[in-house]
Symmetry: C3
Subunit: 253 residues, 3 copies
């Protein structure tokens, strides 16, 4: 399917993180109501700048001026449905990368068919877990379907697989306690968008983003007593993480 991809390591992840911190890219997020606040804080802790409006009248202006776009399908109401195509069109016209996160398409046929339409806009990165991919590609292997396209797949789980033009990276960082906090996956999608804005290689960018986010999760879990204290610790870790921590902990598989 795809060749191995040796060009990813802690140095590359740290370099892209440093570029995010230095350039403070603005990421426009059309994301679900549950994730908005946490996602904004994740981006700010990392050094990026969030904007979050979903108003159809304004969203094109915000998306066109941003450095990257996140489209997350959680809590997909009429306003979001109207805003999403305008934002995607504006981002593409401005040459900005965009991430599609088809949250819970496995639980709602309406949402699944909406996600399939959006896939035809060729997101730079499709972030999804196994269940969501099975709903989107019920009879096919998503890796094979996407292999001939420009879309990079970031399949998240206990192990993350990032596969796109040029190669595949597998990483196994993270901590089970992250699943006991809402919107960690959604916020991870925003981090991918931030990294895409500072790299021309979507596989490297997505791998670096998930590496940084998941290692920050490990750092946080070591200091937390439970999922409550994990949240502030995770944001602090995103603020404090550096190349040494990434080198110590990166687990490629």
């Amino acid at each position: 399917m795809t060749a191995s991809y040796p060009d990813f390591d802690a140095g590359i992840a740290a370099d892209l993180l440093e570029r995010v911190r230095r350039t403070a890219p603005r990421v426009h997020c059309i994301t679900n109501a549950v994730a908005q606040h946490f996602t904004a804080n994740v981006l700010l802790a990392l050094g990026a700048v969030p904007s979050m409006t979903i108003a159809p009248e304004e969203v094109a202006t915000f998306a066109a001026g941003a450095d990257a776009l996140l489209v997350n399908l959680g809590t997909l109401d009429d306003t979001r449905r109207a805003a999403i195509p305008k934002a995607i069109e504006a981002a593409k016209a401005a040459g900005r990368p965009f991430v599609l996160d088809p949250v819970f398409v496995n639980r709602s046929p309406v949402r699944c068919s909406h996600a399939k339409e959006l896939l035809s806009s060729s997101p730079t990165v499709l972030r999804a877990n196994r269940e969501e991919l099975a709903a989107l590609y019920p009879a096919e292997d998503p890796l094979e379907v996407l292999a001939g396209t420009s879309v990079t797949l970031a399949m998240t789980g206990a192990e993350d697989l990032i596969s796109g033009p040029g190669g595949t990276v597998r990483i196994a960082n993270g901590h089970p306690l992250l699943a006991r906090v809402t919107a960690t996956g959604c916020a991870g999608g925003a981090v991918i968008a931030a990294f895409l804005s500072v790299s021309d290689d979507p596989v490297q960018a997505a791998a670096a983003a998930l590496t940084v986010f998941n290692i920050a999760g490990e750092m946080a879990a070591e200091r937390a007593r439970g999922p409550g204290t994990l949240v502030p610790e995770l944001l602090d870790a995103l603020y404090l993480i550096d190349e040494a921590r990434i080198s110590d902990r990166l687990k490629r598989v």
Copy 2:
């Protein structure tokens, strides 16, 4: 009115908590915009799974597939108003319990009359404080009105009274600092819904839910310096609470 109800103690509360943790019920929450994020984290810390969409096109699918439903009337906009009857109908058709939380009906006549209509759908549990009940039942004693029905009342306050088919439980756990954090009451309604999904006795389930939530609040308040640190500590306590802590602290009155 109602007989005393000896069949509630720390062992029952701990047993239902254990069932929630083991079965990880999904609770679909139509709740207000201020409470969505915190409520999701409360359910996850407890061991349940939240879903939160309010889109009228999708809400029936989500509610029918969930193990319990929460309908909270805070920030009641057009989308929520359209979604609520669809969600209730789907939950009832699937035989799922549902909790009605008529937040702030005492501050808005429009909302109060909407809540009265929803009461005719016979929620499994009506969670409300004294002021909200006085608005819903201006000339009557709500306990007497509900005595002949299948609705269990969970009247929350410094003391909680749970009364329904078969009996009444009064408990007096909790901490004043909980009132200095938004959405603690709303999240408590979601916890009741989670416990209803693992018990056939709504009085026991609601009493267990409020006991667990309020004792977690006490545990958190002892570690917190103020309402800010209370939030992560409360989520940690919901994750860490066990039968010993419940036995030590349960205050029936």
Copy 3:
């Protein structure tokens, strides 16, 4: 332009804070989706009471019964656009102060023209940063435009300038880490609204509000490791701040 304004010091700030805590004013907030939860917790930590509905059917009732109104233009969707004039009309009819916070008018011409219309309703306080003011008053000095009006300007930044009928106050409290947490500025607008409800002098009220909020931020930053732990520490500090801390730290310029 405006005379110096000696009638502001730590004692006045502490006195107004004490009045907020004693009277627990209700602040009705039409604010953006990202800021709702944090703003509610800021008000509660301070001793005020938030209400947050944006439903056009209900918002007039909520605003008329509240002690102050905040109108924040972030995430300006159809529902919020419909609710805002109703809330302002109700607040003005009831003689309540209101704060206008024209978030991101510099990024959206649609929003900017909407904000200009709202300015004609004469907010008690206009809270904005330099970039937002430059978008609202592209060819003029906002201080000069507003000098002849009843509107008090609270221009926030590394230094805050509060200028209105009777005088000008400049203060320089705060901490850079506050900018790494979403919605701190938005929540500051809600704190101004709370202080307006306990004072007839908008300049003193806005100066006291920003002083208390920013000194709480300094207290929090000294205990925090990063932007994550800053959030609970900031809420605790708003709960714990007293006249001694205000006196020690107030920096007028």
